[in-house]
């Protein structure tokens, strides 16, 4: 098994006729993902490398039975695209777009969480279940089928760590980039929960970075609820403590958001934290060997 995307995924790509949308939709299809439709308003009837284009997501879903939407729409139109995807009824929405205003995402998030659909992103690299499906912009050659579930806030760091795992002969059940924005549809906790329930995931690698307190919350959650072993990496130890304007932020989280603080929170709950991508891959290897 795997999580979120697999052979049952039927993907509609919103913004498929744009430069990046066309490039990555085509690559996803070439990887074996079932890309059933694209959407660009006003371009119904065209096709991108054989993928039929529709005017609206609803049309695409009705015609093709798409169950997953990928949003590749520029930021000023992406909020609308997200609501359109939600209203089309697809189970899973993956938003690659970077630069969506935080106020828009607060509203999208609140709306979405009242229903049962899943949003990954925005500002994320997507999801790959190696050998089954790739939805997003990840360079597929660094991923191999295997039994590690990888979840990360950072796109390029995800590739780096997957490459380090590949060097050690370790593959992944699924790799999920949850996105780097302050408001993303799915948290570490959401994805860790899915991996924990996946019988083909033996180990979870969680890749965090400075800012916010999602890693700290995940540490608590893992200790209380997760039976699958977890190892972690946090980026940003060399980030200088910045000036902060106003003081409201620090009061709320009660967390410094530093890499050191996150590392300590995770280690306090028994999660090993590597100091660099190579070391976390070694920790993963050791954890798998101990199973």
């Amino acid at each position: 098994m795997s999580i979120l995307v697999d052979k049952n995924t039927k993907l509609v790509v919103q913004g498929i006729t744009g430069r990046e949308g066309a490039f990555h939709a085509t690559r996803n299809k070439a990887y074996g993902t079932n890309v059933v439709a694209g959407v660009t308003p006003g371009k119904a009837g065209q096709d991108v490398e054989g993928i039929p284009v529709f005017n609206t997501v609803r049309d695409a879903v009705e015609e093709t039975g798409a169950n997953t939407a990928m949003v590749f729409v520029p930021p000023r139109f992406a909020t609308d695209a997200l609501y359109e995807a939600i209203e089309s009824g697809v189970e899973l929405i993956i938003c690659i777009t970077e630069g969506i205003p935080a106020h828009d995402m607060m509203q999208v998030y609140t709306h979405l969480r009242r229903g049962s659909q899943t949003l990954i992103g925005p500002n994320c690299p997507g999801i790959i279940s190696p050998g089954r499906a790739s939805v997003g912009i990840m360079p597929t050659q660094v991923f191999n089928p295997g039994r590690v579930g990888l979840v990360s806030r950072s796109g390029t760091l995800t590739y780096q760590i997957s490459k380090e795992l590949a060097v050690l002969g370790i593959g992944q059940s699924s790799v999920v980039g949850i996105g780097g924005d302050p408001v993303v549809g799915s948290s570490f906790i959401d994805i860790v929960t899915r991996f924990d329930a996946d019988p083909e995931t033996d180990l979870i690698v969680m890749v965090g970075e400075i800012g916010g307190n999602e890693e700290e919350k995940a540490a608590e959650f893992i200790a209380a609820n997760v039976s699958t072993p977890v190892v972690s990496y946090i980026a940003g130890f060399q980030a200088p403590p910045g000036k902060q304007m106003g003081h409201a932020g620090a009061i709320i989280t009660g967390s410094s958001g530093t890499a050191q603080g996150k590392k300590e929170a995770l280690e306090a709950k028994g999660v090993r934290v590597g100091t660099n991508p190579t070391e976390v891959a070694q920790f993963a290897q050791e954890a798998l060997a101990a199973l």
Binding site: E20, T110, T156, P182, G212, K217, Q238, A239, K243, P277
Partner: protein, 400 residues
């Protein structure tokens, strides 16, 4: 280490979309447009202009340094003036002052207020709850983090559903629970509503008033203004775009701002260019673990095209402290061949001779490596892994 340019929380913001911090006077001007009472005032960038402003305002005035850092009062950056002459003298002292690394270029001259009580009010984006959070306290005028720690009961807070917004009952709940004086409650309720409106209308991440004062005349007035705008939303605020001004004294950070490059100066000698905030932060960490000192954080971003790589390299190569460049790219949406082409173009244009260590992986990696192998000058070396590239760069920086 050097402080980064613009943006609360520095590097944190590079992975969150940049934020635009406004000066007090800009915040107050926006507050005034949203109906929030502020003392009348004027901006001045010379002592003479401060005097003229004080004459127009009339009576006692306060001359306030405009810098985006706390502790101005303690540093002598806020002075009361009884006369226009005094205002001029204070402005002469304050302008050019260095407040914790921030040079004062502007003062705000405003009518002095007679303060009866100082309160605190803010609306901020609560990243953990993914909702706006409104906070109110009767213990204003001091460090609000200290208040939260020592007398949490003095701080009333309420989360707002972003779909239904701030209602009058939220404001009433806050004033009753924050212990706002009965005579001031009406004014505070009104300001909270306007403050929330400003928070959403302006796409801010933070609007904070500390102190919010209750005056002898019975008015409730914002005596300070901290406003942070979400840069991702600037496309729908062309008027705010004009406020986006250079606040940094550092030549590389200024150049980076002009070129739209996400750059933060650090104090080492290994110049770093990478793509994606997480990978760049990790690169800094790995350079430090290898015994080196990163000169900067530079995220060329997703989808880096050749032009963007050229702009990024221009910023890095303009820093005389940089002894070696480390280019660490893992292509996803970024294509390695574009990075390689950008590097060649930049070297052609800038003629750099310092050692450059390149690591390319990911989308179109073979093409990227081929371009460098065939066309790059001898000072460019390619390393197969991030770790080996960092080690090589550190050795070269140390002259090994």
């Amino acid at each position: 280490m050097a402080l980064p340019s613009g943006g609360a929380n520095c590097l944190v913001t590079t992975s969150q979309g940049r934020r635009l911090d406004l000066f007090e006077y800009q915040g107050k001007q926006l507050f005034a447009r949203h109906g929030i009472p502020v003392p009348s005032g004027e901006v001045a960038d010379t002592p003479e202009a401060a005097r003229a402003a004080a004459e127009r305002i009339g009576g006692k005035v306060v001359v306030k340094a405009q810098v985006q850092i706390g502790g101005r009062g303690k540093a002598g950056g806020i002075q009361l003036a009884d006369t226009p002459e005094e205002a001029e003298a204070h402005a002469r002292n304050i302008l050019g002052m260095d407040i914790r690394g921030h040079i004062v270029h502007t003062v705000w001259v405003e009518a002095a207020s007679e303060i009866v009580k100082e309160y605190y009010a803010s609306v901020t984006f609560d990243r953990s709850e993914k909702k706006p959070l409104v906070m109110l306290s009767a213990a204003g005028g001091m460090d609000i983090e200290e208040v939260a720690r020592t007398q949490p009961e003095a701080l009333a807070t309420v989360h707002i559903d972003p779909l239904t917004g701030f209602q009058a009952h939220h404001a009433r709940w806050l004033v009753y629970h924050a212990g706002i004086d009965a005579e001031a409650q009406g004014g505070v309720v009104k300001i909270l509503q306007q403050l929330y409106q400003a928070f959403t209308d302006l796409d801010t991440m933070l609007v904070e008033i500390n102190p919010l004062i209750w005056t002898a005349a019975g008015d409730v007035v914002a005596l300070d203004a901290k406003v942070t705008i979400d840069n991702n939303a600037l496309f729908r605020h062309p008027d705010l775009l004009e406020l986006q001004q250079s606040v940094t004294e550092d030549p590389q950070e200024r150049l980076a701002q002009e070129k739209g490059v996400t750059y933060v100066k650090l104090d080492g000698d290994v110049g770093i260019l990478g793509n994606g905030a997480g990978l760049v932060m990790s690169t800094l960490d790995v350079v430090a673990l290898a015994g080196g000192r990163p000169a900067n954080f530079l995220d060329a971003g997703g989808g880096s095209k050749a032009d963007e790589v050229v702009a990024a390299l221009e910023v890095l190569l303009s820093d005389p402290k940089v002894k070696v460049l480390l280019i660490n790219i893992f292509g996803g949406i970024t294509r390695c061949d574009e990075v390689a082409k950008g590097l060649l173009t930049a070297l052609d244009k800038l003629g750099a001779t310092l050692p450059i260590v390149v690591r390319l992986d990911g989308t179109n990696e073979d093409e990227g490596r081929r371009i460098i192998a065939e066309q790059a000058p001898a000072n460019v070396v390619v390393e197969p892994t991030m770790l080996s590239a960092a080690q090589r760069a550190v050795e070269l920086a140390k002259g090994v």
